[in-house]
Amino acid sequence: MSDPSRTPQEVHRETAQAPPRSHAEIDESVTSRQEMSGWQSALRTQPFWVFIAIIAIGIVMSLVSDVFLTERNFFNITRNFAFFGIMALGMSAVICTAGIDLSVGSLMGLSGIVTGLVMQAGFGIVPGFLACMATAAAVGLINGILIAYLRMAPFVVTLGMLAIARSIAMVVSNNKMVYQFGPDQDLFERIGGESVFGVPNPVWVMLFLTLVFWWVWRYSTWGRWVIAIGGNAHAAKLAGIPVERITVSVYVVCSLCAGLAAFLMVGWFGSVTNGLGQTYELNVIAASVIGGANLMGGVVYAFGAPIGAALMELIRNSLLLAGIDALWQQFFVGLFLILAVLLEQIRNRGGR
């Protein structure tokens, strides 16, 4: 390139006046890559491989334990992870913007208590539900405004909210359990605790929301913009995307998912304490990441959230059925979390 006998201008004139070359010449490694079919691109996603892991564990467990493949066990597994799956759907959106929401567990406690108190006071289930979601939306709005407009770090803001929301839950509940839910108590407990066609209601909610998010990520402008913000917020801003407003809405969506999970969970338990959801934020973040969310932002899979949550519950259930001490559970969840991220790194390196 640096031929001392020629000036840069001369070199330039030659290159500039050459007929436009095709890109195939310029970068064969790029253009020789075949376009991938939908199936091939699915093979490259994290949720797919986690799903394979789930099947593998399932096959091993059905050989090890005769209880594993029973309807009862499946009912329990799916219901247990449905709450985390619902929350992970919202968390995935936040993580897609390169953010994090540590307040979802505390928010479950707060919105659960608010639901309980409103219904205990004799208001019906509709006001109870609306109060639950309004509480969640308010918390999400505060998180989002602090993060998007005041440019505070999501970790710090939501860590603060983790403490604040839990504390408010303690104050408004006067540190007492709520187990009487007024005139609609039956309906409330049926929504959270019963099943339709043998599938627990929270699982139906999770499946429905997963499809909604699948559509949102693939076909909605909002979804496209959230992914763009995660990829390059500066570019998104220059392209005219209302980055701040979208970011706030992402935190609101995440909080609403947590509120909905709380509403269902309180109905299932038939009672609520201000300790509801304690440390759940860690499980939810783990489920999102195992499901393919990248903390650097810009990556999101609707199916990743329930699949990640399913894997975590499956590990718990398998250890239980295999007779391994439950104290090992967190060890394996942590192991899978790190393995999942490691695998993604390796895949990315191969793909570049």
Partner: protein, 246 residues
């Protein structure tokens, strides 16, 4: 009538005068090179035209009408598109998605509106072939070469059929052999009747594609000449201050 007129643009940041009374006229379909050393005020002038911030004094006129931009979208609405130095692309999206970023095409079924991927990919593909670039709309920007990224950034400016395309150092970050490709892209913009303002450090690029060249030094315009009436040596002298003004 001139397409764009900058009338005595002055910009001060506190005590620092970044620009002082800069006049610049860009005619329809004309390519004007804007040159100057680091800190000469090129970027400041670009940002004023692009609507990133307003001038302290002076006016911008588009086709004779005075305009005031408070944000980049205002400039776009007036027919000015900008190709940023860092290209402002989202790596994690496809070339097609980047072309339509912020102005996605939608289809409607009843009350539902959804992204029309097929049409967006098709139109992005058409734009790339108009630019004679083999960039493929479904490829991720992450996997692309510098020249292909540049093609995406330029294709994006053509969605609104702008009157003027501002390009900030389009050849600064790419390899020598891709420069030819980008210069060809700029010529094609010109051929299709777009005015171009090219900010560049690279003398050969400006002499290759521009009709006129304006030189800024310490916030003052020291020269504005037709390419045929000047030489790289003269422009270099003007940039460094060896030649006072021309």
């Amino acid at each position: 009538m001139a397409l764009m007129e900058l009338d005595a643009i002055t910009k001060s940041f506190g005590a620092i005068h970044a620009l002082q009374g800069v006049n610049l006229v860009v005619g329809e379909g004309e390519a004007v090179g804007l040159m100057g050393d680091n800190g000469a005020g090129k970027s400041t002038l670009m940002k004023i035209i692009a609507g990133n911030f307003p001038p302290t004094k002076g006016a911008i006129r588009i086709e004779g009408r005075k305009v005031e931009f408070s944000k980049p979208l205002d400039a776009r609405d007036s027919g000015i598109e900008i190709v940023y130095q860092d290209l402002a692309l989202c790596d994690n999206l496809t070339a097609g998605a980047n072309v339509f970023l912020g102005r996605e095409l939608k289809k409607r079924i009843g009350p539902f509106r959804y992204l029309d991927h097929a049409t967006m990919f098709e139109r992005a593909g058409a734009l790339f072939s108009e630019l004679k670039s083999e960039t493929r709309p479904r490829d991720l920007v992450r996997q692309m070469s510098g020249g292909q990224r540049q093609a995406v950034a330029i294709a994006r400016t053509r969605l609104s059929d702008p009157k003027l395309v501002l390009m900030d150092e389009p050849t600064a970050a790419i390899s020598v052999r891709q420069v030819a490709e980008v210069l060809a892209l700029i010529k094609r913009l010109k051929d299709t009747g777009h005015a171009v303002v090219l900010v560049s450090h690279r003398m050969p690029d400006v002499f290759e594609v521009c009709d006129r060249v304006a030189v800024l030094r310490r916030g003052i315009k020291v020269a504005d000449k037709r390419i045929g009436d000047t030489s790289p040596e003269e422009i270099t002298g003007l940039i460094t201050g060896a030649i006072e003004a021309a």
